[in-house]
């Protein structure tokens, strides 16, 4: 009898977890509809429905949905999901709850390389933008590791990240000064502008993104073991170095893709894993899934806010996520100091 009970709880069907996922999916769906409906001009739900399923190109409202808001929505989903996954991985492999591709300079490294490539190597097509973004992200990551020594859970990691972020932001600002007119559009993009992005940019990056997201889930078992501590993981048979390098590579690809599409959007990777951990704590498979959905939700809501707080003007989505993320960051730091 006892054994039977145990067998059940060891491989039992996770009803609570799964219903949480369904609830989150529902929330994402509602937020998505809101996203399509709200904006400079409010559009009613019937028109949204028609635009999606019985498209009539003569109706201007339906055109707005199809041509502008739908693209924004898709980009928000992709950006939210990718940044959230990148945040989970970064926090896991650095054993540091403050790790985030934005805070650790990876986003700004990618952004600098993208801007520099547009300025100095215009002969490469725009298809190469993600590659430059990856290079920049990887370069920034290496710089942070060199500066911090990759110590477990160390504050030096965050400080190094701040320094690298400042460095790349300054260098990007210099580039923008050199070419004022040509890069006016970039300035907008550099504060994390989903509005400036379109589906074409997504086409450059989606193969990398899909590959990276699938790869995240192959790290689950090793990450679960790594959660017990680096030494325990190693003695359980985890190749710790390989885990860290592949985790970092995934972060570089995910952040690089996001930066290419929407510019450096911060704090999503910091906030989302902490929220997800309030709901699921013991398995990275579920943590990834929950983070992916919560990140999506956060970005859709942020993008809604970005479009309606100063209606009819728009602010950049990255500014909204910073407003949400900065208090969380401060709260995390305060808790750590105690």
């Amino acid at each position: 009898m006892l054994n039977k009970v145990e067998a059940h709880s060891m491989s039992g069907f996770p009803v609570a977890r799964l219903s949480g996922v369904l609830l989150l999916l529902l929330a994402v769906a509602i937020a998505a509809f809101l996203h399509l409906s709200l904006g400079a001009k409010s559009i009613d739900w019937v028109t949204i429905w028609q635009a999606l399923f019985e498209y009539n190109p003569l109706d201007m409202d339906q055109v707005i949905i199809r041509e502008s808001r739908q693209a924004r929505l898709i980009v928000s989903v992709v950006v939210g999901a990718s940044l959230a996954l990148a945040g989970v991985i970064m926090q896991a492999i650095s054993s540091n709850p403050l790790a985030d591709p934005g805070l650790l300079g990876i986003n700004s490294g990618a952004a600098f390389f993208v801007v520099a490539s547009l300025l100095f190597f215009p002969m490469f097509g725009q298809d190469y933008l993600p590659v430059f973004a990856f290079l920049g992200a990887a370069f920034a990551a290496l710089l942070v590791i060199l500066l911090s020594g990759w110590e477990q859970g160390s504050e030096r990691l965050v400080l190094a990240g701040v320094v690298v972020t400042a460095l790349f932001s300054a260098m990007t600002a210099i580039l923008l000064l050199i070419d004022q007119q040509g890069l006016e559009k970039l300035r907008h993009w550099l504060t994390g502008a989903i509005g400036a992005s379109d589906l074409k940019k997504l086409q450059w990056v989606y193969p990398y993104l899909i590959f990276a997201i699938v790869c995240c889930f192959t790290l689950v078992r090793s990450l679960n073991a790594f959660h017990l501590g680096e030494r325990v993981a190693a003695s359980l048979g985890v190749n710790v170095l390989l885990l860290k390098v592949s985790g970092l590579a995934l972060v570089v690809v995910l952040s690089g893709c996001v930066v290419t599409v929407a510019g450096p959007i911060g704090f999503v990777g910091l906030v989302v894993p902490h929220v997800a951990r309030l709901l699921v704590r013991n398995s990275y498979a579920w943590l990834f899934l929950y983070s992916l959905l919560i990140g999506t939700l956060l970005l859709i809501l942020s993008d809604i806010a970005a479009r309606i707080v100063l209606r009819p003007y728009e602010i950049n989505t990255g500014i909204i996520t910073a407003f949400v993320g900065a208090p969380v960051f401060i709260a995390l730091v305060l808790r750590r100091m105690k």
């Binding site: 054994n3 145990e6 067998a7 709880s9 060891m10 491989s11 192959t218 689950v220 078992r221 679960n224 073991a225 959660h227 017990l228 501590g229 030494r231 325990v232 190693a234 003695s235 359980l236 048979g237 985890v238 190749n239 951990r277 704590r281 013991n282």
Partner: protein, 276 residues
């Protein structure tokens, strides 16, 4: 049989282990002893591959562990390192189940064999009562039992333990040592680092005494646990008596009476002995 040949290892600028040669036979309880910083933990880490060797080789049953993948090492040899922090958000059972890591992969997740190994480990370590409680809610002794259960669930012929009784109170230490020594009867080879001299003498079959990164002496407890060796390895002045109940040797540190002038060295040495 575990054979260590010309092992040199250390950290960045400091060589810790100098030309270690050891042949440890299968079965039984082997204890590594020595003063702080003599390289006991470094040796355990070197054997299990946590630390890259500068030179030398480690063979388990004539297979060089250095040539194996991490997972293959973990199927042969389990190490429980010193645990500094309790992982958050796990129940005792979830921790123990992690011990099956080296036997699984992403297409073969949870088998009957895994189930059996985990149940056996739970049985031996007697952690059934708090299996579904979060680790954070358990006492130090209970947590340590769970870690040992995880290590046992790994189901390896050789188990390495790094100071398994640190931070536990006396009753829990004894309980845990009894548990560990009972593993011998399951055919496992236990290699442990122990700080408590008398615990080492009571429970071990074989002692390896280390000094400054080298093996000072090794052998059966009765042959090695002597006044001379303790003095040489620990700088400890102690009488050796025989435990009237177990027949094992016991070290009684020579007490400096208050009217004698106690030198600081003596005081330091005395602090290293915990009375069990």
């Amino acid at each position: 049989m575990l054979v260590i040949e010309h092992l040199n290892a250390g950290y960045k600028n400091k060589q810790v282990l100098k030309d270690i040669n050891l042949t440890l036979s299968e079965g039984g309880f082997i204890t590594l002893m020595g003063a702080n910083g003599c390289g006991k933990t470094t040796l355990l880490h070197s054997i299990s591959g946590l630390l890259k060797l500068a030179s030398g080789d480690v063979f388990l049953n004539e297979v060089s562990l250095l040539t194996l993948k991490r997972k293959d090492v973990a199927q042969r040899l389990a190490l429980l390192p010193q645990i500094a922090t309790t992982p958050s958000g796990l129940t005792a059972r979830e921790l123990i189940m992690q011990g099956r890591f080296p036997w699984q992969n992403w297409w073969r997740q949870w088998s009957e064999l895994d189930e059996k190994a985990v149940n056996d480990a739970i049985e031996v370590t007697n952690v059934r009562d708090y299996l579904d409680l979060p680790l954070e809610q358990l006492s130090g002794g209970q947590q340590q039992r769970c870690w040992i259960a995880m290590t046992l669930a790994q189901d390896t012929p050789v188990v390495l333990l790094d100071e398994p009784t640190t931070y536990l109170d006396v009753a829990h230490q004894v309980e845990l040592m009894n548990l560990i020594s009972s593993l011998k009867s399951k055919g496992k080879t236990i290699i442990a680092v122990l700080h408590d001299l008398n615990q080492a003498a009571t429970y071990s079959d074989y002692l390896v005494m280390m000094k400054e990164g080298e093996v000072y002496t090794q052998g059966k407890v009765k042959d090695v646990f002597t006044k001379e060796n303790l003095s040489a390895v620990f700088g400890l002045d102690a009488h050796i008596i025989t435990d009237p109940y177990n027949g094992t040797p016991i070290a009684l540190p020579v007490v400096t009476l208050p009217d004698n002038v106690a030198s600081t060295a003596d005081l330091n040495n005395r602090q290293q002995i915990h009375y069990a």
